[in-house]
């Protein structure tokens, strides 16, 4: 009797586990949740298996639209200090024009999260570093504000903070004398959320930005990269950035 009960229990347990496992993969035919694929317990370190990336469709990015820039500033607490030449700039809109054909593009340019980041090579204290999942960050605890990274970055993606800052977003510490740049909203990614720029672009209906894991063949970004031609900015430098542009 008791063995029967045990068997029944273990069988039930097995079924429950299988159901849970299948639920993660087969939520609906053809649909797989990125959240489930990328879910990571808070005490678990980031994995090398993941390579976070952005795909920006320049055909959908309207000139003059700065929804992503505004969303970034709000999320990360970047305020106008009245010194536009030296204010921190995590994303900027760049207008490009092909002089021969006259074709124009408007593209958001932020830290490109290179596989071989020059900012990391030049940093004398190791403050500029690449996380295992490909996000390039500044550890402000060790940054001495030398600005070598700003000089080394071919994308002008790094800024330095010149003013005392108050009322930061608790999730985004930033302060005087430290270099900084786009973090891909790492505090959101670690909680399985999208970066603020991507969320804002999608919410406004532009759908020009996709965020996801380039290493996961099932993810939308990897499928788009496999299907459509996309390129890096300054691909000649062979830095293999995580940010790709379509239609450029």
């Amino acid at each position: 009797m008791s063995t029967d009960a045990n068997e029944a229990l273990s069988r039930r347990g097995f079924l429950a586990i299988s159901a849970a496992t299948l639920g993660g993969v087969m939520l609906a035919p053809g649909i797989r949740l990125i959240e489930i694929a990328g879910a990571r317990a808070p005490e678990q370190a980031v994995s090398r298996q993941v390579r976070w990336g952005l795909l920006i469709d320049t055909n959908k990015c309207a000139p003059g639209c700065d929804d992503c820039v505004k969303a970034c500033a709000t999320e990360n607490g970047i305020k106008d200090t009245g010194h536009p030449r030296t204010d921190a700039q995590w994303i900027r809109k760049v207008e490009l024009k092909d002089l021969r054909s006259g074709r124009t593009h408007s593209v958001p340019v932020m830290c490109q999260h290179c596989e071989h980041p020059p900012c990391v090579d030049v940093c004398p204290t190791g403050a500029s570093f690449k996380r295992a999942d490909g996000i390039v960050l500044v550890d402000r605890h060790t940054c001495i504000g030398c600005r070598y990274c700003m000089m080394a970055c071919p994308y002008k993606a790094r800024s330095i903070v010149f003013q005392e800052i108050t009322d930061q977003n608790p999730d985004v510490p930033r302060g005087n004398g430290c270099a900084e740049g786009c973090t891909l909203c790492v505090h959101r990614i670690d909680h399985d959320r999208q970066p603020a720029c991507v969320e804002a672009c999608t919410r406004a209906g532009h759908n020009a930005m996709i965020f996801g894991d380039l290493n996961d063949p099932q993810s939308e970004i990897a499928q788009r990269v496999a299907k459509y031609a996309s390129t890096h900015i300054r691909a000649d430098l062979k830095l293999n950035p995580g940010v790709r542009y379509q239609g450029l």
């Binding site: 808070p42 370190a45 605890h141 510490p173 670690d190």
Partner: protein, 125 residues
């Protein structure tokens, strides 16, 4: 002994002597207001002695490895210990600042980190 250790020891001694001196009103002492009484993540003695090490350990895990456990995170400290009046851990009687001023230990976390918890819409500090 390293200079750092010496400073830490003297800070602890200052706090310990403050505790002894609570009986006497002639000696100034730090104001420790705890608006939200309850259990901290460790006992008081451990927290007083080891909170800098806990925070440093946690910060490296968070920044470099993306480990965002809440137990030893500065954000959680601020969330719990911010004053109800000012909404901050800084200020004259702020939980962090009053002790650090008393022990004369520089408090530079809040040059970058928020000294006030994030408020949900409409909530008061």
């Amino acid at each position: 002994m390293h200079l750092h250790g010496l400073v830490r020891l003297s800070a602890c001694l200052a706090l310990a002597s403050a505790a002894l001196a609570f009986a006497s009103d002639r000696v100034p002492k730090p104001v420790i207001n705890i608006d939200k009484p309850g259990k901290c993540v460790e006992d008081t003695a451990t927290m007083r002695r080891e909170h800098p090490d806990m925070l440093k350990h946690q910060r490296d895990l968070t920044v470099h490895e993306g480990i965002r456990t809440r137990e030893h995170s500065l954000k959680e400290c601020v969330g719990c210990h911010a004053s109800r009046k000012t909404g901050s851990v800084l200020g004259e009687n702020g939980f962090c600042q009053s002790c650090h001023d008393y022990a004369s230990v520089r408090l530079d976390c809040f040059g970058c980190h928020a000294s006030k918890p994030k408020l949900t819409n409409g909530a008061k500090p």
